[in-house]
């Protein structure tokens, strides 16, 4: 009975993992995700499966007892490789450039390679684990002083990177990913420690990996919902949510400003140079907005088409005007060597009363925008 239950739980974990893999392989995510998360899923499923096999084969004399050390080695290697691939995936979703940098990855991978070699050599020298005369497997000294620390190190680095990123709150849309990276690191380390502490009586490790990857997958999905795929800015859904939370909240120390902006003559860029050039222009504007408004802690969103929005907490209208000028200047500089002229019209409104509704707030900012557009012509 015990083995049935054990098998069921592990099988459940593996099936969930495989399901996510299939979703990524054949779904929409193919276009948006890198291979990194799929590697994580495959290695996790492998680690769980081998973990199960290892326990089933413990003490068995199958194939003259040859199978046990093989499976144990494979299990240790898969698990170590998995923690490295988690680390790489964390780099990817936290947008640290190392995840795709071969040289840096090779450097960060040195401990992994070292551990993998140790695992293989353990079959003969028993440094990390050894198999006794009755074919039962035991962990050895180096398991505790090298293998575990290396795996934990990768996980802890993930958490540290996520925390560091979270400190610099730039984009509202990314707050959940940072939290997810931190929490899956914590889940995995806890699960690993519990598993060793309980001496393999319960499959906590498999359950931990599964929960961590479900969390990562589900949060990554919800991130896609709140992100504009072209410019990677916040989208309209998130803008509304953010504004609602700001407007219904308590008194703010500063005044809440809403900026509405519009690309001038975007239509003609599209018509003359084609849609792909139009998309390029939008990405360029988004980059400028990120560079100018990001460090000032503003909330940036693409409302749709060529409309962008910024929400900022500023002291007074002079500060708002200064922000507009800064954006326009930066755009002028970046767009200097383009074939066409790229400029923005910006309108803004401040939220001086708490009783105003969201559409009214927008309408006031819109009015200013049209006044400016008229003046430009």
């Amino acid at each position: 009975m015990h083995s049935v239950l054990y098998f069921e739980l592990v099988a459940f974990c593996i099936v969930v993992e495989v399901m996510m893999f299939v979703k990524m392989r054949f779904g929409l995510y193919r276009l948006l995700y890198q291979r990194t998360f799929r590697n994580v899923l495959v290695l996790s499923a492998l680690s769980m499966g081998l973990d199960y096999l290892r326990l089933v084969l413990d003490g068995s004399m199958l194939l003259g007892g040859m199978l046990t050390p093989l499976v144990v080695t494979a299990y240790f290697m898969a698990t170590a490789a998995m923690s490295f691939s988690w680390f790489r995936y964390s780099g990817f979703i936290l947008k640290f450039p190392f995840w795709n940098d071969r040289k840096k990855l090779a450097l960060y991978g040195i401990p992994l390679v070292f551990v993998l070699l140790l695992c293989v050599s353990s079959v003969w020298n028993g440094l990390i684990f050894f198999v006794d005369d009755f074919n039962f497997f035991h962990r050895n000294l180096l398991y505790y002083i090298i293998y575990v620390p290396v795996c934990v190190l990768y996980m802890v680095t993930c958490v540290a990177l996520a925390v560091r990123k979270a400190m610099r709150k730039r984009y509202y849309a990314e707050r959940e990913t940072n939290a997810s990276v931190a929490s899956f690191g914590v889940i995995l380390v806890t699960a690993g420690i519990l598993q060793v502490y309980l001496e393999d009586m319960l499959p906590i490790w498999s359950a931990g990996i599964m929960l961590a990857s479900v969390l990562a997958f589900v949060l990554a999905q919800s991130q896609l919902i709140s992100m504009d795929p072209l410019t990677r800015l916040n989208n309209r859904n998130l803008l509304n949510q953010f504004l609602n939370s700001k407007m219904n909240g308590k008194e703010l120390p500063k005044r809440l400003y809403l900026f509405v902006m519009d690309l001038d003559k975007f239509k003609s860029i599209n018509d003359i140079y084609g849609h792909s050039e139009g998309d390029r222009a939008l990405v360029l504007v988004a980059d400028v907005l990120k560079a100018v408004c990001g460090p000032r802690g503003c909330f940036i969103a693409r409302f749709g088409g060529d409309e962008f929005n910024i929400v900022a907490e500023l002291d007074n209208d002079a500060a708002a005007e200064a922000l507009c000028t800064a954006i326009k200047d930066a755009l002028k500089e970046r767009a200097a060597n383009l074939a066409y002229k790229l400029s923005l019209s910006i309108g803004y409104a401040d939220h001086y009363t708490g009783a105003e509704s969201l559409p009214d707030f927008f309408a006031r900012a819109d009015e200013r925008l049209y006044a400016q557009k008229k003046a430009n012509r």
Binding site: L9, L202, L219, Q221, R236, G274, S276, E307
Partner: protein, 379 residues
């Protein structure tokens, strides 16, 4: 240790559901659907937790053990019935074209649940569905099969309803959602039935959790692939669809890509404001859905005022016919509005071999500009 495993499995399921509820609540779109979904998750978690407590108490000796065990038993079976009922309601909710009805009809759905609640409470004294012996061990009563049949009938109805619906529809964006609904019914059904011969193995909780996970992922997927304003497919989904179509061509039909552009959208926006501009987009997309939807065209909004349609046609002349239909439908629609809604459409046929998405788009775009230029000349 068996108990430990049993409890761990249940707790893992609770954790997964907690993650789903957390993400649902933190999510961007907090509509009724999300509320109903977290409601189901909540009811499922409740039954898992009752199960864990029951497992811990069964066969143990402590003050009032007998009563506690009986109560937990009854609570478990009642919760199973309640869960089934909510499950059915959720499946109706997910599919806007079906309705549970009102008054008597709606009430009749709840009758099996109410019957089971009464039966289970009575069982504490009569031992119909279950009884607890002097050693504080639970045993199945004579009516356990009635409990099982009634509770699982909800799930079976969910499954059959969604499945029947699946065959009567051919909308691309809806299809995977309907599959998910049917999975929602069949998985817990299998789990509930399998639980009977496999007493002591936590099958039910695993199946329920798996079903909910699939539905959740499908919901998220819908949000990612659908344009929130017009409820058409978005750019992501278009790329994915075209990719799939180009890789598996039906050689007897012509694969045609239409690129469409709302005329004078900028002017509508500038003159009447962005709210009115949005409304014109919604009106346009409704016309597209009405005219092209029944013909099995794939419709997407790829940003701003650009729409794209992909169709497999028997012969190319059909393309012009469909365009004429579209133009006349828009004209009738425009009569109710202060401004005119009209479309410029360019289309291109996919080459039999070696065509790519950018090439196809490029040709259709060129066609579109030609038409736009002609229109400008006429003015």
């Amino acid at each position: 240790m068996e108990n430990g495993l049993y409890i761990e499995t249940n707790l893992v399921c609770v954790c997964i559901l907690l993650i789903l509820v957390y993400v649902t609540w933190r999510g961007v779109v907090r509509e009724t659907e999300q509320l109903v979904f977290s409601n189901i998750c909540f009811h499922s978690m409740l039954i898992f937790i009752i199960d864990v407590l029951w497992r811990i108490c069964d066969g143990q000796r402590f003050p009032l053990a007998h009563t506690v065990n009986e109560l937990l038993c009854a609570a478990y079976f009642i919760q199973a019935a309640v869960l089934g009922y909510y499950w059915l309601r959720y499946s109706y909710f997910l599919d806007p074209e079906r309705s549970m009805g009102h008054g008597v009809k709606r009430f009749s759905f709840a009758i099996p649940m109410i019957l089971l609640i009464v039966l289970n409470i009575a069982s504490i004294w009569t031992g119909w569905v279950f009884y607890v012996d002097d050693n504080n061990m639970y045993h199945r009563g004579p009516l356990i099969y009635l409990q099982l049949a009634l509770a699982t009938s909800y799930l079976l109805i969910t499954f059959v309803g969604a499945w029947l619906n699946l065959f009567s529809k051919h909308k691309y964006a809806q299809k995977s959602k309907l599959v998910a609904i049917s999975v929602l019914g069949i998985l817990p059904f299998i789990g509930g039935v399998a639980q009977l011969p496999l007493a002591g193995v936590p099958v039910f909780c695993v199946c329920v959790t798996f079903g909910l996970l699939i539905v959740f992922m499908e919901n998220q997927h819908q949000l990612i692939s659908i344009d929130p304003l017009t409820h058409l497919n978005n750019r992501n989904q278009l790329n994915y669809f075209l990719d799939a179509k180009l890789n598996s061509r039906n050689s007897e039909k012509h694969l045609v890509l239409f690129v469409m552009d709302l005329d004078y959208f900028k002017q509508i926006n500038d003159k009447y404001g962005h709210m009115e501009g949005d409304r014109s987009l919604v009106i346009l997309s409704n016309v597209l859905k009405r005219v092209l939807g029944p013909r099995g065209f794939f419709i997407a909004r790829i940003g701003g005022d650009e729409f794209v349609t992909v169709a497999e046609l028997d012969y190319m002349a059909k393309a012009e016919k469909v365009m004429a239909l579209l133009h006349s439908a828009l004209e009738t629609e425009s009569e109710k509005l202060p401004y005119k809604i009209s479309l410029s459409i360019g289309y291109a046929e996919c080459l039999p071999v070696g065509d790519t998405i950018p090439d196809l788009f490029g040709r259709a775009d060129k066609e579109l500009y030609k038409i736009k230029a002609q229109r400008e000349d006429k003015r």
